[in-house]
Structures are given as structure tokens and as C-alpha cells.
């Protein structure tokens, strides 16, 4: 606390400093990686519906592209700041590196509130953003993807503008496109499936037969659903699922001790992962308080909803049977809870490894777009399996070797890979 304000970039830097210490990185490498390699800030003039002109502020931060073209989202938010984008760009670099795909990290956006803009004005902002930065982004330089308040539609406007400027077709310029227009199959499934590929490998290492394991899942959104789908397909049993109930403004845990029936639950779920409580009761599910998911007698906990769910307060309630926590959500475990989990010998698949399936599939989209040839879903998911499995073992073996926890091990792998690429290129 004190007078220092919360600053995401400083937080990202201090995180990096800690890993750099562990890796004993030299000063030049630290100086290079502590800051973005390039930053662009520019103005986007837009003629509004009423004829007046307004100037919007646009950004692109490229943190590092030693391993390949930079990759990162585009955000439209009224209170966006450069520091947030710097932090997010850095995290993208690590994320791509840990899963070992040949991409760097970047982030960008426009300060604007889409709630205050008509669709036409939004289109002008998107096209204006591309016009200002068209020379410094591209399929082989820096590839944007949709993020906060962006959509497949905004991506298509941007792609279209880029192609007009460069006089050709470059579907690989952007990811997050609809499947019908250069998107990739398997995108829906990728994050959830990725989690389970890692879980499968972890259970193997822990000498547990997946078919004998039980799991409890927090969340029933897209990631959780596909994780459950694959886990049950390959023989596991999920006995409880916790999710948000919009009408009650509360979370509930739905439990069936003999194992939930995934298709049956799916049929009574809205697109946000809200399960119809009444119908679930009819189907014979027990309805428990929202926090009950964590205390179930299972082997695997999969938090797949929000950040900060496993805290110092509830970490003690984790059942002694639990052997594995797979962090499908971003930051589900608070720093205070982390040591408790480690002490109890529970194996953690850290978030930025566990949920790397999403970015991997974006990479696949880019690859397919660049060659203008698209794989079937099976092929996408098979390649995802290969990537996730390899990445898991890299992290796991480093963790064992260096006697670090998996979270730090994952960071160390990421940072060292990027540092190595910079060295190889003679940058440091």
C-alpha cells in the first residue's frame, strides 16, 4: 500500500525480476525483457454520426518477437492505459513461450467506450486503427486477436482494411475469425481439452488410473464444459459442478455422487453456463451451496470460473483425497493459498500452462490461414494434444529437476526460452 498506486506493469516486472533471479539472467537480457521492444501510440480521427470529428487514442505494444511474430489481443475500453497493455503484452510473450509455439507477445487497443458508439462508428475506429499501424503489423510481424469488447465482427473489419491497404488476401493477419471466414475448427474445445490433456499426463505421472478418478469442477462455461466432456469421454467421472444462477444471484454446486450426466446437464444450461436449478432437481441432482465444490471427496479439482477462488480461508476445506488441481481459470488460486496447497503435496497444473490450449489454437488458426488450407477438427485437436503433452512434460521435469513448484517452473521455462532466442539472434 502506501502512496504507490496499483500498477499492472510494475507487478509484471517484479514477477519477471523474481524469475530472472532464479535463472540468473544477465543485466542486458533483463533490461531487454523488462520493457516492450516497441510501442506505438497514435491518433485515430473518426467522423461521428452527427458529422463532428472525434479523435481516439490507439496503441500497440510489442513486448518481444524474438521467437516469432508477436501475438496479442485488441481491447476497446474507455479507461485503457499503456501500462496495462505493457503488462499484458509481456504475459503474452511468456504464454506463447511456455507452450512452445513460435510467437512473441503483444497487446493493443483503443481508448473508447463501445457502449457510447454506434456500430458504424465502431467500424471506423477499427479501420482507423489498422490504417495507422498497417506497416508494423501483419501475418509475419504482429497478429492481433479479439479481446475486451472486441468481436469476430471487429476482427473482420480490421482484416478487410488491412487487405485493402496491402492489396491482397492475408487471412493470417488476424485470428478469432468466424469458422466460415478463415477461423479454425476446434476453437471452442481447445482450452477445455487442453486442460484435460495436461490432467491426463499429470495423472500418469502420479500413477493414478484416470478411469478411477473423480473430479469436481467450478464453473460450467465453455472451458469447464469441454473439459468435462473430454474427461468423461476418456473415462473419468465428474461428480459435482458449481455454477452461477442468474435469477437467484448466487452460485450452487450440483452434485450426483455416481457422476453427472454431461449431455443431460448441457440440455438444461444457458449459454453462460447457468444450469436450470428446478430441472436439475428433477433430474436428481443434489443442490449444495456454491462453495461446496471445493470440499468434495475427489481426486481432481478443476477451478474453471473466476480468479481468486481458492483462498486462505477455504484452502483447508480441500478434501484429503485431492491429488491434483488443474487451474483452467486465470489466477484461481490466491498467493496466500498457494503454499498451503504445495505443503499438502497437491500437484498443481498452473493456469498459464493449463489453459494454454486457447492460444495454441489461435496459433493453429494463423498457420492454417497463412497456407489457406484448413484442417478438420480432429486434426486440430490431435495437434493440440501433441503441444500440450510436450509442454506439460517440459514443465513437470523442470519442476522436479529444479525443485521449484510447477508455477515457477513454467515461468522459468518461458523466460529462458525467450532469453535464449534473444541471445541466439545476438540481441543481448
Amino acid at each position: 500500500m502506501g502512496s504507490q498506486k496499483f500498477n499492472a506493469f510494475e507487478m509484471a516486472q517484479s514477477q519477471f525480476d523474481r524469475i530472472a533471479d532464479l535463472l540468473k539472467l544477465d543485466q542486458a537480457t533483463r533490461d531487454l525483457l523488462r520493457y516492450p521492444i516497441r510501442e506505438y501510440q497514435f491518433s485515430i480521427p473518426v467522423r461521428m454520426k452527427d458529422g463532428t470529428m472525434r479523435i481516439f487514442r490507439g496503441f500497440r505494444v510489442q513486448h518481444n518477437d524474438a521467437r516469432g511474430p508477436a501475438k496479442g489481443g485488441i481491447r476497446f475500453h474507455p479507461l485503457e492505459t499503456v501500462d496495462t497493455m505493457r503488462a499484458l503484452a509481456m504475459w503474452m510473450t511468456w504464454k506463447c513461450a511456455v507452450i512452445d509455439i513460435p510467437l512473441g507477445g503483444s497487446k493493443g487497443g483503443v481508448i473508447c467506450d463501445p457502449h457510447e458508439l454506434s456500430e458504424y462508428e465502431m467500424e471506423q475506429i477499427c479501420r482507423g486503427w489498422v490504417r495507422q499501424i498497417a506497416r508494423d503489423v501483419g501475418p509475419y510481424q504482429d497478429v492481433p486477436a479479439p479481446e475486451v469488447m472486441a468481436s469476430p465482427q471487429t476482427m473482420l473489419w480490421m482484416l478487410d482494411e488491412y487487405e485493402v491497404i496491402h492489396g491482397g488476401k492475408f487471412p493470417g493477419f488476424i485470428t478469432g475469425k468466424p469458422v466460415s471466414l478463415g477461423g479454425s475448427q476446434g476453437k471452442k474445445e481447445s482450452t477445455g481439452y487442453g486442460v484435460i490433456f495436461a490432467v491426463r499426463e499429470a495423472l500418469n505421472e502420479l500413477n493414478l488410473s484416470l478411469k478411477d478418478t473423480l473430479a469436481s469442477v467450478q464453473g460450467f462455461g465453455s472451458v469447464a464444459r469441454h473439459a468435462i466432456e473430454l474427461y468423461q469421454q476418456i473415462g473419468g467421472r465428474v461428480i459435482s459442478v458449481a455454477c452461477w444462477d442468474q435469477s437467484d444471484q448466487a452460485t450452487y454446486t450440483y452434485r450426483k455422487k455416481e457422476g453427472i450426466n454431461y449431455p443431460e446437464l448441457l440440455a438444461i444450461t444457458d449459454p453462460f453456463g447457468g444450469i436450470d436449478k428446478r430441472k436439475a432437481l428433477e433430474l436428481g441432482y443434489e443442490i449444495l451451496p456454491g462453495e461446496a465444490w471445493i470440499e468434495q471427496e475427489v481426486d481432481i479439482l478443476i477451478p474453471a470460473a473466476l480468479e481468486n477462488q481458492i483462498t486462505s480461508e477455504n484452502v483447508q476445506q480441500i478434501h484429503p483425497r485431492v491429488k491434483l488441481v488443474a487451474e483452467a481459470a486465470n489466477g484461481p488460486t490466491t498467493p496466500e493459498a498457494d503454499p498451503v496447497i504445495n505443503e499438502r503435496g497437491i500437484f498443481v497444473i498452473p493456469d498459464f500452462l493449463a489453459n494454454a490450449g486457447g492460444v495454441t489454437c489461435s496459433y493453429f488458426e494463423q498457420v492454417q490461414s497463412n497456407m489457406n488450407y484448413y484442417w478438420e477438427k480432429d486434426e486440430v485437436l490431435a495437434r493440440l494434444d501433441v503441444k500440450m503433452t510436450a509442454a506439460y512434460h517440459d514443465v513437470s521435469s523442470l519442476a522436479k529437476k529444479s525443485r521449484q513448484n510447477t508455477r515457477d517452473a513454467a515461468y522459468m521455462i518461458a523466460v529462458s526460452r525467450v532469453a535464449q532466442a534473444c541471445k541466439d539472434r545476438g540481441w543481448v
Binding site: M1, F6, H115, S247
Partner: protein
Amino acid sequence: MNNQDQSVDTLLYALKERAKELNCLYRVEELFNISEATVGDICRGIIQAIPPGWQYPDICLAKITVGEKIYQSPDFQETSWVQSADIIAQDVKVGSVKVYYTTERPPADEGPFLKEERKLINTIAERLGRRILHENLKRVFEEQTTVKKQDKDWLSIVDLLKRTDPKLLMRISRKMLNYLCWNGIEEAERLLEHFSPAYKSEESELLKEINRPYQKKAVSNILAISEDIFRIAGDHLSETEILGSIQKWIKDDRSDFLVNILENPGSTLSDITSAIERYHHLTPQGLELPTPREKGFRVALIRRLLTDQSQFINIAKHFIEVDDFYNLLHHIIFPAGSHGKLGGKSAGLFLATQILKKNLEQQELLGDIKTPKTWYLTSDAILNFMHYNNLEEIVEQKYKEIGQVRQEYPYVMHIFKNSPLPPEILKGLSVALDDFENAPLIVRSSSLLEDRMGTAFAGKYKSLFIANQGSKEKRLAALMDAIVEVYASTFGPDPIEYRLERGMIDFHEEMGIMIQECVGTRIGRYFLPAFAGVAFSHNEFRWSRRIKREDGLIRLVPGLGTRAVDRLSDDYPMLISPGEPDLRVNVTLDEKIRYSPKKIDVINLETDSFETLEIRDLLKECGDDYPLVSQLVSILEQDRLRLPGALGSDFGRDYPVVTFEGLIRNSNFIPRMNAILKTLQDKFETPVDIEFAHDGRDFYLLQCRPLSYGAAYQPASIPRDVPKARTLFTANRYVTNGIVSDITHIVYVDPQQYGELSQQADLLAVGKAVSKLNQILPKRQFILMGPGRWGSRGDIKLGVSVTYSGINNTAMLIEIARRQKDYVPDVSFGTHFFQDLVEASIRYLPLYPDDAGITFNTEFLSASENMLENLLPEFAALSGIIRVIDVPEASGGLVLQVLMNGDLEEAVGILAESNEAREIKIKRSQSDAPPGRSDEHWRWRQRQIERLAARLDPERFGVKGFYIFGSTKNATAGPASDIDILVHFQGTAAQKQDLLSWLEGWSLCLSQFNFLRTGQETDGLLDVHLVTDADIAKRTSYAVKIGAKTDAARPLTVGKSKFARHT
């Protein structure tokens, strides 16, 4: 048996006769309707039409004499079996109609003739008389026009009148005399003085009753005078002037009957109906009315049929023409001798329809707007109904205690439902049902008080849907049932209480009924419109600074509009601002799906019931038949919504989301709504709200009335003389209307301090603490004030990170935009949960403390004692950032009132005493604001709970202390508030069981009493919290309330009742 057969035969025979007579009458009417037919043509036609209409057509002959002309059946012969009627034109016999039988027949009512035949022949003669008069006059006019330029033509007219129509001449003479006097001709004035007294008295008597001897006397007098008058006129006026005047007066005279009927307060609706009918038949033949007279008619008709409110008449007279009433009158059902009106709702819709129809500039948008087929029951039919069933005493209900009214209401409903409607009304309804056929109907109330300009009487009376399926008997029974139910609602406690509050209890209330065809189409077993909704010409729920109030607001739903009219607790209507349709409330995919309508109201034609379905289920069942479905839904495809493609949709497989995207983008819906709202607001000269529906083919206007604000959304008057120290804040940007009153707690997140936080965990903790406060502070009696954007999920340092469930008990959400270095941060308008706020009536206000002229009382907010640590010890570390202020504690017993006036773009938060605040309430811009009655709710609760405590035997139940807290203690309880009690319990499990069931009994009992008082239904009124010694020691759960620094529970004396032993 035999007798019965006979009577049935007789009945059948009589019915056949009536049918023949009617046929005859129709044929005769047809002849009259041929405008180019001469009297001769008509007579020849009648001769043919008569025999089939009489009882013995084979031996029936007819003969008509008009002046010297005779028309008769072929082979005519006179016999002694004759029925005859004279043809009268201007009181002079000009001919006759005669019907003969050639052979003798058994005697009936009038020789061999029936009494119905008498009526028929009289009618024919009367119609002929009128036609002849018309022809005569027409001839006169024609002669005049052909010889216009010649001198002294007017003399021949006067001459002609003398011979043909002395009464008309008399009236014209008088007008000429007036005209001459008007022009200052002395000779005429003398004449007037001289003849005036006698003339007047006779004239007035003449008008009263037709009495031949008098008339003759009068006529001879007047004829003499008239010669004088016209002589004077000839001396002083030009030929053209005289001729013109006479022509004009003769024309006027033809509509005099209407004047007489309309101006006479004694004339009944049926008089008016027949007069309008006559007028209508005259019109195609060129009845031109002078403007003042036409206007007079309009006003008189509006006053008689629609409303006597001058504000309404002032507007309506410009748009409603006399002939517009013709069709309307054919759809009015009324008791004999009715003086009733149609009521507010009907009047509003009728006027709006005429306004839109007559707006010629925007015909392509407004031209094809329809209104559903409607029948009306006049407002006095309810009195007729009550009189018929001897229920007059129920009128006095309104003067009873409201508790009694509520108690007796089910009984009133029961009696009404078991009382028949008078036969004449029944007949009318039967005709209406034939007209409606099997279309589902909505029976709407349209009372005299409803929808009056300046009163908001929305939704107090009932509107009922009926499926209208099956046999006519069944349909009629259902319709009657619905009507009496609406009738009974006049005596319901809610409207009576509402009227009481607004000082309208003595207003003579009558209940008109609108029976409207329900707009919609049949889809499978359901009946529903494609979409429906309500629209307001003023938008009180702006979600962006770019939306102006004048941009309006539409609440749109698929299916019946009921879901758009009411605030929904479990669903969301689509909100669109028609002036800025591109600025959506919901932008991201997540928002678009979350806040899209999920349910739909329909009429189930198989079960005759009103149902709410899941839209997806309905679309699965019959999505392909749903009208305009491709304009209403988008398809969720992975992570985007797309409009249904040209190939259609498979609703079994696709995930449809109601977005109205196609309707907004690809139809004229938005421009049309804009045109409607702008036109109506412009012409009504006040903001309006409308209801509408679309059946897939046509757009229907269902209702239109001056914009009514719910009680909480009235523009507040802003007090100017509040001392600075008692002003908490002022605002002058993006202000809406309304009052948020009796706020006892403020949760203030200090923007500066919040901005200084450096740890994400601390930022998140602020959100958590606010969510916890939301649970423990008294519901709707606290407000949240914080920096920037509440609910910010992206970058949480820009606004407190909470979900809707973390703020859902607040009364108001305030976003503070403090200047930071060189810029002022944005506010969000509550975007993250905007629609939740709207549906839950949580108010929103942005504050700009650094703007010039704005007050922001930092001192009060920062210096008042902070209760946070006391309430949430675990968040004590955040005391520098979150301040919880007990307003009465900090201000010496005052509460916070937020007064907002969107018209002035001004809002103010003041610390006021409850009484003072109530005075402000009364002084609202709307004069009919309710006087404060809220005191009684907490006082009553206080009394009851004191008695309860007194009766509680502490030893029996193991009770050590008994406390009250929450709204009753804080004197802010409303009619539905529960009573929070805290029991310090230290007994056995059995005692606990005992105590809880004892309190449960009280709880239900009090709830029932409260229902009788207020009409609010609750499942028990007591909210009981037990705490033990251990709780108190550890200060866990509600134990913190005991001896707390803020909002502490107050102890009550237990077991001191003299009744204690008996309990």
C-alpha cells in the same frame, strides 16, 4: 307438449314475418341510398318492395300518392282492407302510402294488418317525406344557381318558402332581422323591440313542443313580420348579400337537428347516434357546414362521448371530425337513456388514431398504422348493471376504511361475478361477438379517471385476455365474466387507495370498457403478436451521454406486450432509444445474450389460458411459422450472433437469441416509432406513452396517453433554500426524474483513496466489502457512492469490482467522476448492469464534483464517523477507503433525500428531516402527488412488536433479551417491509422449538393483518434472528447489532403484559 309445439310454431312464424319486414326495409333503404334516384324512381321501387314485406304477399297491392302523382302496383284495385300512412314534409301532408289486401284475411292488430306492418309503413312514409323535402330544397337551390345573376331572386325564394316551409322561413326571417340589427339598421332594431317579447315567448314554446294551434298562430304572426323584415333588407342590403345569407342559413338549418341534440344535455346516446346517422347520410349529398358550427359539433361530440376535460378537447377538436364519430358510434354498446362516455383509454386511442391518420406529411410511415377492431361499453353501463342487480350500495365502498375495502373486495368480486348483465347490454355484446368472430379479445378498463391528462392512473384497473373460442354461448359467458371482473376492479382496494392518496376519491368514477380484438396470429396452439411493447417519447433511462431525453425509449418484447409493460424480475425486454437506435444498451456478445428476452407471453387457444413460455421452446415447436421471426432473432454461432441467413434457420439445432436486430436494421420500425412518438408528442403538446403490437402484417397502435411516470419517477421539485451544510451534493448532468427518499446509510468509496491502492488484492477487497455491506445494510435505504465505473471488470482500479448481486439492495448507485490531473474520468451509466438496475428500479446518478457551481460535501462524507470497522471487522483495514455513514447518527436525526428533476437537468442530495422531506414530496411538480402516509407503516409495526414483546414469557421460552432493528426501528418501514427482531436466546432445544413456532404464529398473524391494511402479501412478517451468549461474546452474525455503533438494535421490554398469563 302440444301447447309447447304450438307456441314454438307461433314463434317461428312471427320470426319469419319479422325477417320479411326487415328485408322490405332493407330494400327500401337501398332505394334511398341511390343518390341520383328521383322521388318517382324511389316510389316505383317501393311499390315493388312492399308486397313481399307484408303478411300475405300474394294478395297485397300498394299505392303511393305524391302531390298529384300516383304510383301503384300493376292491376291495382282499391279495397276496404287498407293500411295507410301520410307523407309529411315540413309539417304539411304531401301524399300518402297505402297498402291493400284484395281478399279478406283473419283480423290481426289493425284489421288484417300487424302492428309491425304499421311501423314499417310509417317508416317508409317518413323516409319519403324527408326525401321529398330534400328534393324540394335541391330544386330551389338549383333554380337559384341557374338564375344567380338576376335581380330579386331572393324574393322568389322567400316566396317559395312561404308556400313550402313556413317554419324555415320563420327561422330565416329571424336570422335576417338579427343580421340587420347587427348592421345597425335602426328600422330593424325598432322592429325587433316591437315584436321581440311575443315573438320570443312563442318561439320558445314552439321549440318545446309541437302543438298545432300555437303553431298556426305563430306562423301567421311571423309571416307578417317576415314581409317587413325582407322589405327592410331589400332597402338596405345588396341582392347578392341577401341571396348569399339566405342560402347560408338554409344550409345551416339542415344541421340544426344536430345542434339541438348535441347542445341539449338531456339528449341520450341513442338520440346522438341517430342524429349522427342522419348527418352521415346527408353528408354525401353535400352538407357543408360553416367552420364555427362544425367546430361546435366536434366539441360537443367530444365532450359527450370522450371527455369533458378542456385540455383534451382543446387538442382533439383540431383532429376529430364529426363524421369520424359515425363509425365509432356503431361500435358502442350502451344502456337505454345512456349519458355515458367512453372513458380515458378509449378517448386517448381514438384521438391518437385520428392525429396519425391526419398527418399527411409522413403518410408512408404513419399511413398504414392500424387500430384493432374495438367495441365500447359506455361508462354508465356499470351503473346500469349495478342498478339491475340492486348493487347500488357498493358505490359507497370507497368511503369505507381501506382495510375493510380490502377485506370485502373478494366478496364484491364474488357478487359481481354472479350477477347478470342487463339484457340490452347482453344483446349489444352478442352483436359485438358476431363482429369479432373467434378472434381472441382483450377486455380493457377505460374509466373516466384513467389516462386523464395530468393524472397517472396506470395499471390500477384490470385488463383481461380472453381466448374467445368455442360456441357462442361459451364465448359470451367468458366475455361477460371478464367485463364484470373489470367492473369489480373499480371497487378494488388498490385504485381506491390510490384515489384516496391523490384526493380524487370524490370524483365521480365510472368504468367504461374497451373490448379489443387481440392483435396477433395463430401459431400452432398459441395466439400471439410477432412483437409488442410500450414506447415513451421521453427517455428516463439513458444509458449513454449521447442519448437525449427526447430520443425516447422503446421497451420491446416478442409475443404479448404484457412483459414490456411491467417491470420484470426474471427477464429483460429489449430497450431501444428510437432517436439513437445505434447506441445500444448491450454491446458485447455476453451482454447481448444475457439481457435478451427469454420468455414470451401467449394465449393458449386450446386451454383458453394466458401462458408464459420459454421462447426457445416455442421456436422449437413452431419457429418456422412465427411471423417475422427472421427480424426478431439472431443465431448464436460460436462466439458471434448473426442474422438468420437466406436459407432460414433450424430452430431445433440453432441457438436463437432475441435481438430484434433485423427489425432495427432492415425494417421501417425505428423511423416509424420515431414518427409516431414525435407526432403524438407534438400534437398532444405533452410527452406521451403508447402501447403497440405487430401481428406480422400490420402495425397496431393499442393505447396512447400522456406520459405517466411511476410514483418514483415523477420530476422532483428542487428546493432552492437548503443551507450548504445540509446539501450533500448537487448534479446537473445526465439527470433523470425521481425521488430517492429516507436514506439512512451511505456507503462512500473515496475516489482519491481508492485510486491510491497499489495491490490488486486490496482493490478486490473493496468490492468484497461492498458486497457484504449490501447484505447487512437495510434494503433500499442505503446508497452506494464510488469512483468511476461500478462493476468494472477489466481494469478494476477504475471502479469498484462488484457483480450485480453485490449491489442489488442499494436504493441508488452514484458514480463520481473526480478530475485527475488533466482529465475527468468517464462514468459508465451503470452499463455493467444497466438493465438490472432498470428492472429493479435502482436509480443511477453521475456526479461531477469538480464542475463549476457544483456542491460536493466532502466534509460530511469524510468527517462523519465511519461504521465500517464496527459492521465488518474483517475489513477494518479498508476504513480509509470505504466509509459507511449512518446518516441520522451523523446529522442529528436527519435522513438523506435525493431529488432529481430531469426537465431541469438538476439533482440534489439533501439532509432533511422526515417531515420536511414529506413537504417537499407534496410540492412535487405534479399536483396530485401523494401526501406522506409512510409514517403509519412503521408505527403500526412498532406497536405490534411492543405488544408481542409484552406477551412473550421469557422463562417459558428461555429468552434473555428481545430487540428490534432494521426498517421498523429506523422509522422507514413501508407497507411490505418485514419486522427484523433479534432474540437473545439461552434455552434448551425444546424451548427453542417452542419459541420459534410461537413466533411463527405471530408472524403469520401479523402478515394477515398487514395484508388487510395494505394489500401487500407476505409469507409472514417477522424476520427472526436468534443469538446466543457465545454470539454476543464473539460478536458474530447479528449479535453485532446489539449495542452496535450504527443502526443498533433497540431492546424491548419482555413479559410485562397483563395478558401474559393467558398466552
